[in-house]
């Protein structure tokens, strides 16, 4: 990994070589091993929005679950997770989640349907006057005072978003993980939700935005980590996503960028490898136009390139 520059603040979260695997019984007593995350590395600093972009099955939600310590009990985890320079042990995960590490979940399904939303938001507060803090946050997010007395089913999609962000806000967490906060929302609501996340970073918190929507990521992120088949294939600054993708380093990031309707709607055939049959070499090799025999023999390591990082033998 590359060392952070001296002027930059220390990462609030440092994930190195994270791998997650599951053993499953396939048929009878035959076991197979699924590897949804392989050698994944990301860091995130205070005041920064890091977008984690990838398709479904790329491991992005599992990354969030690994950080929060809520993986299923049969998961095998290797690699290191450090939070504020301390190892993120299971005990620390229990202590920190909900207080110093907060999750903005995907949908209304994460709210208690039988509890008024004001009470749910207040229950996430850890110090100070919860009622006052909840009123102030609702006012800030333009939620009328009577909304606190409503149940989740009475809220529209946009209001639900604001309630979910409110819970992260009131917790005072220094690391906020937002899991797919925007799909299927009208552009005005998308912009508003993303704006709230950007504001949280502006207050010195670190925000990890997990999304499959590269355009949403580009509007607020500082850096973008591109995931493929459970590994980080590239980490690039937002400015690299421009033109026909010539500044991007990895062939998958370029393909993702060029698939956007406004960038040519270019088709890339094939699909991510299945989790119990990962290729022995580079995980993108089976689909890669730049593939050579080197790529089938060994997995490329992450390396620094032009101010970002890439996992590819041929990237230049």
């Amino acid at each position: 990994m590359i060392a952070p520059e001296a002027s930059e603040p220390k990462p609030i979260l440092d994930v190195r070589d994270l791998s997650v695997s599951f053993e499953q019984y396939a048929r009878g007593l035959q076991k197979k091993t699924l590897r949804p995350i392989t050698s994944l590395s990301v860091t995130i600093r205070p005041g920064e929005v890091l977008a984690v972009v990838g398709s479904s099955g790329s491991g992005k939600s599992l990354l969030a679950h690994a950080i929060l310590g809520i993986l299923p009990s049969n998961a095998r985890v290797t690699g290191t997770l450090r939070h504020a320079n301390e190892n993120l042990t299971p005990e620390r995960q229990v202590a920190l989640r909900g207080s110093d590490i907060a999750l903005v979940p995907q949908s209304v399904g994460f709210l208690n349907p039988l509890m008024r939303v004001g009470a749910q938001v207040r229950s996430a507060a850890h110090n100070g006057n919860a009622a006052e803090a909840q009123r102030a946050i609702f006012a800030r997010y333009r939620l009328a005072p009577e909304v606190a007395g409503m149940y989740p089913f009475q809220l529209s999609g946009g209001m639900t978003r604001r309630v979910l962000v409110s819970t992260a806000m009131i917790s005072g967490a220094s690391l906020i993980i937002a899991d797919e906060p925007t799909p299927g929302m009208h552009s005005a609501v998308v912009e508003e939700t993303l704006g709230h996340l950007r504001e949280l970073a502006g207050e010195g918190r670190a925000v990890m935005l997990i999304t499959h929507d590269i355009e949403a990521a580009l509007t607020i992120a500082d850096r973008i980590a591109v995931l493929y088949a459970g590994t980080t294939v590239e980490i690039a600054s937002v400015a690299d996503f421009t033109g026909d993708g010539q500044s991007l380093r990895h062939p998958y990031s370029k393909a993702l960028w060029r698939a956007l309707p406004q960038n040519g709607f270019a088709v890339t055939p094939g699909a991510q490898p299945v989790l119990d049959e990962l290729p022995p070499g580079c995980l993108y090799e089976p689909r890669c136009p730049m593939s050579t025999p080197d790529c089938t023999g060994a997995r490329p390591e992450v390396r620094a390139l032009r101010g970002g990082v890439v996992r590819c033998f041929h990237a230049a």
């Binding site: 009328a144 609501v189 709607f265």
Partner: protein
């Protein structure tokens, strides 16, 4: 002959009108984009066009007559969340052949692999499930496709893969498609014309957006 919505009005019980006075037509071979803020009734209109709901006012005409009440529906709706549109207790094979038996060429075009047939829906990704939903909806008697945010939950590469296949089939069979989406660049790329739902409601519902307690307010104007 077109698929037409004529003066459609819809509401739940005595709630505010969700849709009122909606006129819209899709011709064979035409891709029409439909957009509008969340909560305005795009999905409700989609369900009415495909015969899942009956409008309280106005009617849906296919070739100048009503939609068939029994038998195969030539207007097929594909939903945003494929995992909610398939039976979780059916293997994928049974879901696939629910309406007709898709030919091998269509399965190949949609990159549906035979080894998925024995899987349960929760074992497949959203993109894989959506391919099954499209294959199920693209029977030989389908003439119109209502695509309600069908690639919103998918990454850009899977989105292009799916739309390229759908476009090929639509051109080959001269199908009409209503593309419901929030993604302007996508609709500009796919559609012959884009319609804003607000602009086709001759009688715009005044109640929308006022947000009484107990009524689902539309969030876009708060």
């Amino acid at each position: 002959m077109p698929l037409e919505a004529r003066g459609i009005g819809f509401r739940y019980q005595r709630g505010p009108w969700v849709l009122r006075g909606v006129d819209l037509a899709v011709e064979p071979g035409e891709l029409v984009g439909l957009t509008g803020p969340s909560g305005l009734g795009k999905t409700t209109l989609a369900r009415i066009l495909a015969g899942y709901e009956r409008p309280l006012e106005g009617n849906v005409r296919l070739d100048g007559g009503p939609l068939p009440v029994t038998g195969y529906n030539p207007v097929q709706l594909v939903f945003q969340h494929p995992e909610k549109a398939v039976n979780p207790r059916w293997r994928m094979r049974d879901t696939l052949i629910e309406g007709w038996e898709p030919d091998p060429e269509l399965l190949k075009a949609l990159s549906i692999e035979r080894r998925w047939f024995d899987h349960w829906p929760n074992e497949l990704s959203g993109g894989e499930l959506q391919r099954f939903c499209l294959a199920r909806a693209l029977g030989p008697r389908t003439r119109y496709l209502v695509a309600d945010e069908i690639t919103t939950m998918l990454d850009a590469i899977t989105q292009t893969q799916i739309w390229h296949v759908v476009l090929d089939i639509v051109r080959e069979r001269n199908l009409g498609v209503l593309v419901i989406s929030h993604d302007r660049p996508l609709m500009k790329h796919l559609c012959n014309r884009i319609v804003d739902l607000e602009s086709v409601m001759s009688d715009f519902p005044a109640a929308a957006g006022e947000g009484e307690v107990g009524v689902r307010p539309s969030d876009f104007r708060i």
